[in-house]
């Protein structure tokens, strides 16, 4: 009975506390590294005054946010205005619950899997919870009662709905080969060596998933929801003080959770050349956690890297890219993976090659069709796709 209480209640609580704090500290680390790495990429220093290398800057920022006046403008819809930041933060926080952040660790004879909950529909849970994040943006934008906010919110929700489809379809190939929806099973299935991981077997799907994830987190080049030059600050224009900080934290938490999901699905989870099996039942768990942590960190660096590499999309480009390129690529990966799985009896090499070839063919066909389409009516108008929202922009 005592063991039962320990395993059913106390250990999960410790794991939850650990992961939630790790997320919050991760957000602080991300804000610091975002500014420092941005500085490095632009050949300047970035914040380096508070603490060694400016490491205490996020704490200083946090204190500043806490002490600023919590202003609620008169023209807002008050209950929803207050609720919106939480509606964005909570999904970002609870989505991490099913991500396995290591193999398992044995302390005092009790084996503890390094995961808060291993449910058999893990990946569906992640899709379900992350799809709720859009409410925070939309409600915050609407409750602000400000046209720039509303435009940002509408843009963001249209974008998130469009790219959610790709996000869901791109992982189906992975699920087919793993024959499971549980994230732990998918991670274990990938094996120890990098050439066995899913990103090589499902390379086009991996690219489509990663791109869609950038769009879901509203990061550059997909940050039309808060395009400064056009919309002041987009959906959080009217927010100040700690409420703005919560929006900010939620964005970074989404990035961290997204990176962790990509690492689990495509980059082998906690595996790295069998290093995760070194040491006893205690140390192998610690090492596997460290490997997972490092991979997630590297992927988060890619987020910052892309930010300073690619310029922002125009709205019609964004929609064209999502619907005409990413979605066909994701659909092709399902068909090809399914067909070759039957035809070659699950040979990973053939599936990998077939996926890349098929994706190339599909992208070439779509690009050819778009080019012909443009030639035939370039005299009429250039971008009919985004007409409704361009109409809104014209009202601005």
């Amino acid at each position: 009975m005592e063991i039962d209480i320990l395993q059913q209640i106390i250990i999960p609580i410790i794991k939850i506390l650990f992961i939630v704090h790790l997320l919050i500290i991760g957000v602080m680390a991300m804000i610091w590294s975002e500014r420092r790495v941005s500085g490095w990429m632009q050949d300047r220093l970035g914040p380096n005054r508070v603490g060694p290398q400016g490491l205490l800057q996020p704490i200083a920022d946090g204190i500043k946010f806490l002490f600023k006046e919590d202003l609620i403008p008169n023209h807002v819809d008050k209950p929803l205005y207050v609720l919106a930041p939480a509606m964005l933060l909570v999904p970002a926080m609870i989505a991490i619950a099913v991500v396995p952040f290591g193999s398992s660790i044995t302390i005092a004879g009790i084996e503890i899997p390094l995961q808060i909950a291993d449910i058999n529909i893990g990946i569906l849970y992640i899709l379900a919870i992350t799809s709720l994040g859009v409410y925070g943006v939309v409600i915050g934008a609407w409750a602000s009662n400000n046209k720039y906010s509303l435009l940002g919110g509408l843009r963001s929700s249209a974008q998130m709905i469009s790219y959610e489809l790709t996000l869901g379809l791109a992982i189906i190939g992975v699920l087919m080969l793993s024959e499971s929806l549980s994230l732990r099973k998918i991670a274990i299935d990938q094996g120890a060596n990098p050439w066995e991981w899913n990103f090589l077997i499902h390379f086009p799907a991996f690219l489509a998933f990663t791109t869609a994830m950038f769009a879901e987190t509203n990061r550059l080049p997909f940050d039309l929801a808060e395009a400064e030059q056009e919309l002041v600050a987009g959906y959080h224009t009217e927010y100040s003080s700690m409420k703005f900080a919560i929006f900010f934290m939620a964005e970074y938490m989404n990035m961290i959770v997204g990176s962790a999901v990509v690492v689990t699905l495509f980059l082998g989870g906690w595996h790295f050349f069998g290093l995760e099996a070194v040491g006893g039942p205690f140390w192998s768990g610690v090492i596997s956690f460290a490997i997972f942590f490092a991979k997630t960190g590297i992927f988060l660096f890619v987020f910052i890297w892309v930010r300073w590499t690619l310029p922002r999309f125009r709205y019609d480009q964004l929609m064209n890219f999502g619907w005409k390129f990413l979605l066909p690529v994701a659909l092709t990966s399902i068909v090809v993976t399914g067909t070759l799985y039957i035809a070659t009896n699950g040979n990973r090499l053939w599936i990998g090659i077939g996926n890349v070839v098929a994706a190339f063919i599909v992208v070439a066909i779509v690009a050819g069709m778009l080019a012909m389409d443009n030639n035939s009516k370039s005299t009429v108008q250039s971008t009919p796709a985004a007409a409704p929202l361009r109409g809104l922009d014209a009202v601005e």
């Binding site: 929803l80 449910i119 058999n120 529909i121 569906l124 849970y125 899709l127 379900a128 919870i129 799809s131 709720l132 859009v134 409410y135 939309v138 409600i139 609407w142 509303l150 919110g153 509408l154 929700s157 249209a158 998130m160 709905i161 959610e164 869901g168 929806l181 009429v380 009919p384």
Partner: protein
């Protein structure tokens, strides 16, 4: 009173409160948000029944996709608050009362019937989680034809929408 019972009452209460809020709020945005709360509580009830897949689909499809479109439309049309009198006047009021009474009778009948139904209890006693594997087997073996027909109907609806939108464009040009 075990933990599952407590959770059942929590989810049930939230679902009911959400459902009442949907028709009580005067502003359509609040109503839509209340409906999301109800969907979420229903997903919780599905989890208690061991239907994890249905719960996830409930959240993905209804709370995650359909209600976003609802909100989208409400915001784009900028629907205001309903007046205190409401939309139900004249004949509509009579129809609403009759239908409401019928629904209440049905609900009470089902509740009384289910109260002394032993089949339900035995089904609850064996709540092994229904895995996605089993659902897939059912869909692609026993119910293959209905499944494919449904997908064709959905495809037809999709193509129909695109054709309608395209024709509008041509008339404009």
């Amino acid at each position: 009173m075990n933990a599952e019972m407590i959770l059942f009452f929590i989810f049930g209460a939230v679902a009911l409160i959400g459902a009442i809020a949907v028709i009580s709020f005067r502003h359509p945005i609040y109503s839509a948000l209340s409906l999301i709360v109800t969907f979420f509580a229903q997903a919780g009830l599905f989890v208690l029944l061991g239907a994890h897949f249905v719960a996830a689909v409930q959240v993905i499809v209804y709370a995650g996709a359909i209600m976003v479109l609802f909100l989208f439309v409400i915001m784009l049309l900028n629907l205001g608050t309903l007046s205190a009198k409401g939309a139900l006047t004249g004949k509509l009021k009579g129809v609403a009362i009759v239908l409401g009474i019928l629904l209440a009778v049905q609900g009470i009948y089902i509740a009384v019937k289910a109260g002394n139904n032993t089949a339900l209890e035995s089904a609850q006693a064996s709540t092994e989680p229904v895995t996605t594997y089993k659902i897939g087997e059912l869909l692609f073996k026993d119910y293959l034809l209905p499944f494919e027909v449904t997908s064709l109907i959905l495809l037809a609806a999709l193509i129909g929408v695109i054709v309608l939108v395209k024709r509008d464009k041509q008339i404009e040009n």
